[in-house]
């Protein structure tokens, strides 16, 4: 076959490699076809028609394809109206919810702080005094433990005796042991003890007259109260007064063992003294409780 039998261009088109793919595409060519960057006359052999087809598929819209705009706009108007109405209805509850949450958090925080402060005895004095007043007003017959020791009347030893150092009351209770309200509650049930408590300088006003005057009326004479109460005890020594009536050392330890604001700094002053039943600190001795109207 001579050189004139075929044009060189025709020879080049012959498949030199029998397995080669005339429609092979590399990735870049695919992307350019899909993006419409290749015009049909620029496309490789076999893909000119494809380029035209893809251009037709992405051609400008026909009028038939643009039907339906009015319906969509009507829906847009309806949704917009509803959306503008919704924020007015839902915005306030959202704000309310946030305010409620803040208030709840603040209340919880203050409560926790107050409880923790009360438990650790670090409650500020003004708040503690206020709390005492509130509780005293709410329940006159249940004075707060913190006030009980330091202001307990001194029925037997009187003023001047070192608090908690009297011979009768030393072993009644170690200092710092929290005082309970059991004794106070018992005083309401037991006319004799109510009488003792009623003899206190400060508590007299707080106790109900009926309670404090009951043993006096029963005895007929205030002077007979002590002896009557003494006789009423089975063992004649004051019974379980040592257990029920917590002694006071006059240092005025609070319920948490901490010093009260005023009593702790003035031990032995004023009416502070041994507990009313400190005379029963040694019940076996049978010493009478030196209490009664005469001591007041």
């Amino acid at each position: 076959m001579g050189a004139d039998d075929a044009w060189s261009a025709e020879i080049k088109r012959l498949p030199f490699i029998p397995d080669s793919d005339p429609l092979a595409l590399d990735e870049d060519l695919v992307e350019r076809l899909l993006d419409g960057d290749l015009r049909p006359d620029q496309a490789p052999a076999g893909y000119a028609e494809v380029a035209a087809l893809l251009a037709a598929a992405a051609a400008s819209p026909t009028p038939a394809e643009l039907d339906g705009l009015e319906a969509a706009l009507a829906e847009l108007r309806a949704v917009t109206r509803a959306r503008r109405a919704i924020p007015r209805a839902t915005g306030r509850p959202g704000r309310r919810r946030r305010v409620r949450l803040l208030v709840a958090v603040a209340v919880c925080g203050l409560s926790t702080t107050g409880i923790a402060a009360a438990a650790t005895g670090t409650l500020p004095d003004p708040i503690r005094d206020t709390a005492r007043r509130i509780f005293a007003t709410a329940d006159d017959t249940a004075p707060t433990p913190a006030t009980t020791p330091g202001r307990q009347p001194a029925p037997s030893t009187g003023a001047g005796a070192a608090v908690g150092t009297t011979s009768e009351g030393q072993d009644a209770r170690p200092a710092g042991v929290p005082e309970t309200t059991a004794g106070t509650r018992t005083s309401n049930d037991d006319p004799c003890r109510a009488s003792k408590v009623g003899n206190g300088a400060d508590k007299r006003k707080k106790l109900k007259a009926g309670t404090s005057q009951a043993p006096v009326e029963a005895a007929g004479d205030p002077d007979n109260v002590t002896s009557k109460c003494q006789k009423s005890r089975p063992d004649g020594t004051g019974g379980n007064a040592q257990k029920q009536q917590p002694p006071s050392n006059g240092h005025g330890r609070g319920p948490d063992g901490g010093p009260p604001p005023d009593a702790g700094s003035k031990p032995g002053k004023g009416q502070a003294g041994p507990p009313p039943n400190s005379g029963g600190g040694s019940p076996e001795k049978g010493r009478p409780i030196e209490t009664g109207p005469g001591r007041t």
Partner: protein
């Protein structure tokens, strides 16, 4: 593509501006109709309307650029088409009278029609002859203007799978058009 003004257009449309919404609608409605003609023939306009209702209700919460917006709209469209197919599967098949069709869904020879008048309808009809995955990938790339990654997410496939699908689809179209072009060229000679 709307271009740099898209964020402002979207914000205004979300606020109820009808002109701005019209811009979005004119840009995407033809693409939606063409997409539906491929994957849900016979219900393209209805499904496009349903898609726009969903877009209107959710556009206030949409955040993203124009490509992301397109991907979002076509994701809604695909879900609508899938629901339509489910409904159609539950309904008993009814034969449509041939005389009742306003126009044939596709020309008798889509490839020849493409070569003769290069109409959009003929082009879509030819693409519809591809296997479903290839046809959808090509249309989402060409008509919807989505990127490979977006198409992959929409079709729940890997990006490489989408690349293979589009590559095979284009090749098959070339084979089909080349086969039709050969006899035409010979007839012309």
């Amino acid at each position: 593509m709307i271009g740099p003004s898209f964020p402002a257009v979207l914000t205004a449309a979300a606020g109820g501006d009808e002109d701005a919404f019209g811009v979005l609608w004119h840009d995407l409605q033809p693409r939606l109709v063409r997409y539906f003609k491929l994957i849900a023939p016979g219900a393209a306009e209805d499904l496009a309307s349903e898609t726009w209702l969903a877009v209107i209700r959710g556009v206030g919460r949409f955040q993203g650029d124009e490509r992301a917006f397109r991907a979002w709209v076509f994701t809604i469209a695909r879900h609508k088409a899938r629901d339509w197919w489910r409904r159609a599967a539950r309904k008993p098949v009814q034969e449509l009278p041939e005389a009742g069709l306003a126009e044939p869904l596709a020309p008798d020879d889509p490839a020849a029609a493409v070569l003769e008048d290069a109409s959009t309808r003929a082009a879509l009809a030819l693409i519809a002859t591809l296997p479903a995955g290839q046809a959808e990938a090509v249309v989402l790339r060409v008509v919807a203007g989505l990127e490979v990654k977006q198409v992959a997410e929409l079709m729940d496939k890997q990006p490489n799978t989408v690349r293979v699908l589009t590559h095979r689809g284009l090749r098959r179209l070339a084979e089909r058009l080349g086969a039709d072009a050969g006899p035409r060229a010979r007839r012309a000679v």
